[in-house]
Amino acid sequence: MADAADRPTDKTAAPAADTALDESGEPGLERQNAFSRALRAMEVDTRLLGMIAALLVIWIAFDLLTGGRFLTPRNLFNLSVQTASVAVMATGMVFVITARHIDLSVGSLLGVIAMVMGLLQAEILPEYLGFNHPLTWVITVAVGVAMGAVIGAMQGFVIGYLAVPAFIVTLGGLLVWRGAAWFVTEGRTVAPLDGTFMLFGGGVAGTLGEMLSWVVAVIAVAVIVYAALQDRRRRQIFQFPLKPVWAEWTNIGLLAVMVLGFTLVMNLYPVPQRAAQRIAEAEGIPIPPEGFDWMHGIAIPVVFVAIVAVIMTLVSKRTKFGRYVFAMGGNPQAAELSGIDTKKMTMLIFMVMGILCALSAVIASARLQSAANDLGTLDELRVIAAAVIGGTSLAGGVGTIYGAILGALVMQSLQSGMALVGVNTSLQSIVIGLVLVLAVYVDHIYRSRSSD
């Protein structure tokens, strides 16, 4: 009886055809070549491969066009720092869009939070603590994060409980918070910021340095290996099908090579002598006669992105909250009937988005070493584009954190590459706009193919 039901009985049941015994529900093995068989054994997301391929094409093309100035440690370092702010917000946008909402207010939210944090650390706190007090940055960031959480929750409340569409609420937010950013100082740019705070911007001083970069990289690799083996062990206990051992180690190996390779490249970008001397003087390190051989290493905002990415990935895959975000996107009615409090979920999703906007505000204002009321203008579009290029479906229910970060990197690579080639800004916008549309179209094709 039951096996009969696994065979197609009508058109709607066709997807199950001849795959009744196949775990992944993909067409028979013999029809595929060795490469795709290997990919399947490794359980690699083919979309991810496509994005990495696209990224490599973009990088190599720009490297050729600029006569080798694109793929240099220096440019890649700058690229990683420039991507950070949008990447952090894009991880939150994945949740928002996956739950079938949208947030158009993130750029303005970033702006107003950056202004308040700027005013706080440059003008209010010094009155009580003096300049560059070690607590200044802590209080500033805490206030910024609290502000992001409150504003996000407010918007989420209106969307979830009062049932005003997210598009309208956050479109309102886009105007409200940009206006509010101006009012903080009546349009005056705030500077200088706190010294420690500015490290989050990833300037010359805002990096881990050579030694610490390697330490972080090795810890990251250890965590990757541990997590993979732990997962495997759990599946073994329940005697579930496992990836072949070679596939497991290839995956681990590839990830490890990426982490170590990135670290190596960052460690090949030397700190300019004058900057090194300035830092040495500030920290009271004697200047050696032959000069400094300091390297940048991984920028602090990139570490920030990595931490946010890991946390957001864990939230999306390993918590009820994440599971409910995806369930709401897949079928809001089913989520509701399963007893999920979708109103509260909506509020929390926007609250998380607000917190991430605050973290991005830290990175963006620290990078510019000042807070101006137009900070983050048009960021909402960059963030949404990054999430969508990274495979988040506007129809809801589908999206990954790593995809969004890669999406942010693709966008930033195009922008920096074109700037390096000398393409004028208007043309840059045109290209990025077209790429966005193309990316969504390609994604659509991919999905409609892979779903039957």
Partner: protein, 270 residues
């Protein structure tokens, strides 16, 4: 409309002395001025399937949604295992082990079978993280019982056939210890063989002592599966009969004309 009074429910004689799993008494539901359900009684005993029949708009879905917590009744009483209950929402219904499988199969298409099965009631590790491996193991176990050929544990349910999706929906009810199962048009979207599979499942659940309300348009299905039939027309109860006492024509007469089968009016057949 309903000229003759509802005949005495002779089908209850078989259950003399037993406590019904569900007893709904004098249920009234009105939407605005429209009486969707008008003074309806029905009962369900352990290990039986009661078919709820009627045209569209006869009130059968409304009646049953009162039990599943989706609608509120204006008056009436519901007893579960002899105790009076107050069901305000879907969560309350679950507390009483009432599980509903909706016509539209409320599954999140983008999630896999295990995630759907445990949606809203996830298993977690001691630190509060989702225990996906445990959930998959439990899903494999319960699916192994219901549909041993089911293998697509890692695919999103959108990749499953109608019958497979239905078995996930049923597994969800079974896993969480449904004692009272409401199935609203469980075979409406299925092909012939899949319908047969669901029928098989229903028999299996019945043999485990679960009481099932089966709502369906398809008289054939219901005839094959139900022990008793409760028929409604225009919000009122036409009557309850034993499936083996009636022909399909008798039941059509009840559904279309609201006419209780003559031969079941006194005297009760031996």
């Amino acid at each position: 409309m309903n000229a003759h009074p509802v005949p005495r429910d002779y089908t209850l004689d078989d259950f003399a002395g037993q406590t019904p799993l569900v007893e709904m008494r004098g249920i009234n539901v009105a939407f605005g001025g429209v009486k969707a359900v008008n003074d309806v009684d029905c009962t369900l005993f352990p290990g039986e399937v009661v078919g709820l029949l009627g045209h569209n708009g006869a009130g059968k879905s409304t009646l049953i949604k009162v039990l599943s917590g989706a609608y509120h009744m204006n008056s009436g009483e519901i007893y579960i295992r002899g105790g009076k209950v107050n069901i305000q929402n879907a969560r309350d219904a679950r507390e009483y082990n009432v599980e509903t499988i909706y016509q539209t199969l409320e599954l999140a298409d983008n999630l896999d079978a295990a995630s759907n099965l445990f949606l809203g009631r996830e298993l977690t590790t001691p630190v509060g993280a989702l225990d996906d491996v445990k959930m998959e193991a439990e899903t494999r176990e319960v699916m192994g019982r219901l549909n041993p050929n089911f293998r697509k544990f890692s695919a999103p349910v959108s990749a499953l056939s109608g019958g497979q999706r239905q078995s996930v929906a049923i597994a969800r009810a079974v896993y969480f210890n449904a004692k009272i199962l409401i199935m609203d048009e469980p075979t409406a979207a299925l092909g012939v063989q899949e319908t047969a599979m669901v029928a098989d499942l229903i028999r299996k659940l019945k043999s485990e002592g679960i009481g099932i309300f089966l709502i369906s348009h398809d008289i054939h299905d219901v005839f094959e599966l139900a022990d008793r039939l409760t028929v409604m027309k225009n919000g009122r109860l036409v009557g309850t009969v034993k499936t083996k006492d009636v022909s399909e024509d008798d039941v059509l007469g009840m559904i279309i004309l609201g006419k209780y089968p003559e031969h079941l009016l006194e005297p009760v057949p031996a």
